[in-house]
Subunit: 126 residues, 2 copies
DNA sequence: CTTTCATGTCATGTTTCCTAACATGAAAGT
DNA sequence: ACTTTCATGTTAGGAAACATGACATGAAAG
């Protein structure tokens, strides 16, 4: 599941490809970017690089506009979505792994007297 | 299922994208084309356009070469595959739809005496 | 030790994409 | 009725990516 997400967010598609996939003009796509609706990456040579997720978002934008929603409205929708996602993330309090549990228990033990040395376990980068 | 096939054979990816997706050089990709292993489409401005199927094939070619198969060998494999596919297609005798059955029955009736007019049914383009 | 194979590199021209500016028709305000 | 705003079109000049063709090369094959 992680693999597919990575592929979908891989920014490799240049303007011409995205134009064909979305049937939008370059002008439109750049304008939506200027309005803060998308933020494509850039190549070394400063050319825009889009991911499949970006393409999906552009298709969404296209549909919203076709439905009469203006750009400010679309931005509001995305801002709201982002806020909701962020709230959910911080509320999720990600579940502890067995590894975490062991480490925490060990720390507890060490603080209240110490048994076994703290640095004997597996090193975790974060 | 038909939809996905279409998308996978949609030729929209330019050289730079394919280079990134396959980690092949432009020289390699063009060489494989010169050897008849792939046949990308061309844009109006004569630039190569690849589909996801093409990318898959390039990845295959890369793997074959890494395994010591030379280009003639890879071509032989593809020629053989194509022959097999073609044979299977002609043997498959694609199943008739209800619509086909009705049309054939009607033609039969018409030829052996006629009941109902031939052009009263639904028009099918092919 | 010369050929072949797969690829690298360079030169030169064309196409695509960049930014920035001005133009425009349809809505919306005043 | 006139002026802004919005979303998009168009044009211009420059930079990046891509095209083809030629020559170079190391490894393998003959």
């Amino acid at each position: 599941m992680k693999e597919k997400e990575l592929r979908r967010s891989l920014a490799v598609l240049p303007m011409g490809t995205v134009m064909k996939l979305t049937s939008l003009t370059a002008r439109q796509i750049r304008y939506y970017e200027a309005q803060g609706l998308i933020t494509p990456e850039r190549s070394d040579g400063n050319r825009r690089l889009y991911s499949l997720n970006d393409v999906d978002r552009l298709l969404e934008i296209r549909d919203y506009l076709a439905d009469g929603v203006n750009i400010a409205g679309i931005k509001a929708i995305y801002d709201q979505q982002q806020a909701a996602t962020k709230a959910k993330q911080s509320a999720q309090q990600q579940p502890l792994t067995d590894e975490d549990v062991r480490r925490i228990l060990q720390d507890e033990f060490i603080r209240q007297g110490g048994l076994g040395h703290p640095n004997s376990g597996i090193q975790r980068p974060f």
